[in-house]
């Protein structure tokens, strides 16, 4: 079977994001960009399914600017077989991403699409569920374990009270949670090899998808600041503060 893995280029999770002073967005100039961490987990899972003989081909796809090629090369260096860049300089909302992915799924017919549960820039947590809806497929979101058996996928999900296991007919959608696996680092030889792997470039127009935003961002601002409080000398002082000043004990 074939697995499609959508990967997003985002500001690296270690960067302290700064809001632009004019409220128009966040600072992205000269900021380190990386693959969305949940998508690394998705690529890893797909590669493991290939290594286990369950999958034959892993195709990575990114919707974004020219530079998203770097993100795709990372996926190829980790072990994906080929990549598709759907090039646009617009900020594409999850609904439009899902529509583009649907068109790609119609063309490529994968049995499984593995996405991240959440992009750490928009923190939307939507795309996988939306794609599942557009395709009429089952969805195993927030996956902690993925088992493929014949024409079914058994997905254990991280839910509020603990874990839930569902069985999905294939083809299906999976979105990754943190504990699914630990993504590998690409080795230098694999990074070299990845440069020669095929990377197709398309545009949203090629798939007939209008990427106009439905949500207009009126303003982007800093969250209310919390200031550092007092460093106390000992536990007695803490108990006193919490009891007598704050009334929380």
């Amino acid at each position: 079977m074939k697995i499609l893995v959508p990967v997003k280029r985002v500001i690296d999770y270690n960067v302290k994001v700064r809001v632009k002073s004019d409220g128009s967005g966040v600072e992205t100039a000269n900021v380190k960009m990386s693959m969305n961490p949940f998508d690394e987990i998705a690529v890893e899972e797909a590669i493991r399914l290939k290594e286990a003989g369950t999958a034959e081909e892993v195709v990575a796809i990114s919707i974004g600017p020219d530079k998203a090629q770097e993100t795709l090369r990372t996926a190829l260096a980790m072990g994906a077989d080929r990549a598709i860049l759907v090039k646009t300089d617009e900020i594409v909302e999850p609904l439009s991403v899902a529509k583009i992915l649907k068109a790609v799924v119609d063309e490529e017919s994968p049995k499984l699409v593995v996405l991240g549960k959440q992009a750490i820039d928009d923190d939307a947590n939507q795309t996988g569920q939306m794609l599942a809806a557009l395709l009429g497929w089952g969805q195993g979101t927030f996956a902690n374990e993925v088992k493929i058996e014949g024409e079914k996928a058994e997905i254990t999900r991280e839910v509020d009270g603990g874990l839930q296991t569902v069985s999905l007919d294939l083809p299906a959608i999976v979105t990754t949670d943190l504990r699914l696996n630990e993504p590998r680092y690409a080795s230098l030889p694999n990074i070299m090899k990845a440069k020669k792997k095929p990377l197709d470039t398309k545009t949203p127009d090629d798939y007939g998808v209008d990427v106009a935003a439905r949500l207009k961002v009126l303003k982007t601002e800093e969250p209310p600041e919390r200031s550092a409080g007092e460093i106390l000398e000992n536990v007695d002082q803490l108990v006193d503060k919490l009891k007598n000043k704050e009334g929380v004990l």
Binding site: I11, V17, V19, V26, F38, P94, L95, I120, D121, D122, D123, A124, N125, Q126, G128, Q129, M130, A133, L134, G136, G138, Q139, T141, F142, N144, E154, E158, V159, D160, G162, L163, Q164, T165, V166, S167, L168, D169, D177, L178, R179, R214, L215, K216, K219, T220, E221, E222, P223, A228, G229, I231, N234, V235, L238, V239, K241, L242, E246, V248, L249
Partner: protein, 309 residues
């Protein structure tokens, strides 16, 4: 205007995330109906009917809906959507699982994790782990959104809405429930607790986590939280993770022990009223958001605290 709020419940009980999302719905204004989808969920429906400001409760029950799987649940909500201008759910794992599916079925862009209502079509929501707050205006005719519970007070009881039983539409039949492991605990729930004690990587092992954190939590009548590092290392179950990609909490008192204060963790607890940090590194970023800090070894400080309470 009419609003449909998907309740968060486990058939037997209604979680207070529903009452918090109801407050957001009331701020938008209009006739608010609550949907209870499940099986054997009369008790949850009765609890929802008592909430203040609810027009009616819709109760849909079937085998397929028992575990609120996204596929049948989204089909049900889609079938009801014609009567509503707003479709809301709390940002719980159920809400996050199903609402984007509903949004796509309706060709609507969802607004995730609404933290304030600025107008009929304008809302605030956090992005970049809460390092930026966006004000967004939706141009969709129907608004589909999830509500960040930590940003809203729970609506109290005081209503007596009618409970109307409705048919559960057949879902696409592509998914089935297999099993679940839901921990039973007498401790308060993380997202509704007044006090939370969270432990980090510093605890070093599950044994130590259990030995140091749990009895103190019980003494404080606190819920227990954890950093991602503590969960990844197996010291605490996944549903205790507080943060950008875990639970978002805002208790009266949050105590972080042996947690460094990475932005991803802060995103989940920064709105707590009083924050206490215990860390042996005086430069740990957690101190920058803490009201009170103790610099020292948690293995000494926590037992001492327990003794002095």
């Amino acid at each position: 205007m009419a609003l449909l709020l998907l309740a968060d419940h486990d058939n037997a009980t209604l979680s207070d995330q529903t009452a918090k999302a109801l407050t957001a719905a009331k701020e938008i204004g209009g006739d608010i109906d609550i949907l209870i989808a499940g099986k054997g969920a009369q008790a949850a429906a009765d609890a929802a009917a008592k909430l203040d400001g609810v027009r009616k409760v819709l109760l849909a029950e079937s085998d397929q809906l028992e575990h609120q799987l996204a596929e049948p649940l989204a089909a049900l909500i889609e079938s009801l959507a014609g009567d509503y201008d707003y479709l809301l759910a709390p940002s719980t794992t159920t809400g996050k699982n199903v609402m984007p599916r509903v949004a796509a079925l309706l060709d609507v862009m969802q607004i995730s994790d609404v933290m304030s209502v600025e107008g009929d079509d304008t809302f605030k929501r956090p992005v970049y782990a809460g390092n930026a707050i966006q004000t967004v205006q939706s141009s969709d005719s129907k608004k589909v959104m999830t509500i960040r519970g930590a940003s809203f007070q729970a609506t109290g009881d005081g209503g007596s809405a009618s409970v109307e039983t409705i048919d559960a539409v057949a879902g696409p039949g592509v998914s089935a429930f297999v099993s679940q492991k839901i921990a039973e605990s007498d401790r308060p729930e993380l997202t509704s607790a007044k006090v939370i004690l969270s432990g980090g990587r510093a605890l070093g092992s599950k044994e130590k986590f259990d030995e140091i954190i749990l009895p103190l939590a019980d003494k404080l009548n606190a819920a227990v939280g954890a950093s991602r590092a503590a969960v990844d290392a197996g010291y605490a179950p996944n549903d205790w993770q507080v943060g950008q990609t875990g639970k978002v909490v805002a208790p009266e008192l949050y105590i972080a022990a042996g947690i460094s204060g990475a932005i991803q963790h802060l995103a989940g607890m920064k709105d707590s009223r009083v924050i206490v940090a215990i860390n042996k590194d005086e430069d740990a970023p957690i101190f920058q958001v803490a009201d009170y800090g103790l610099v020292g070894d948690l293995f000494q400080i926590l037992p001492e605290l327990q003794q002095k309470l």
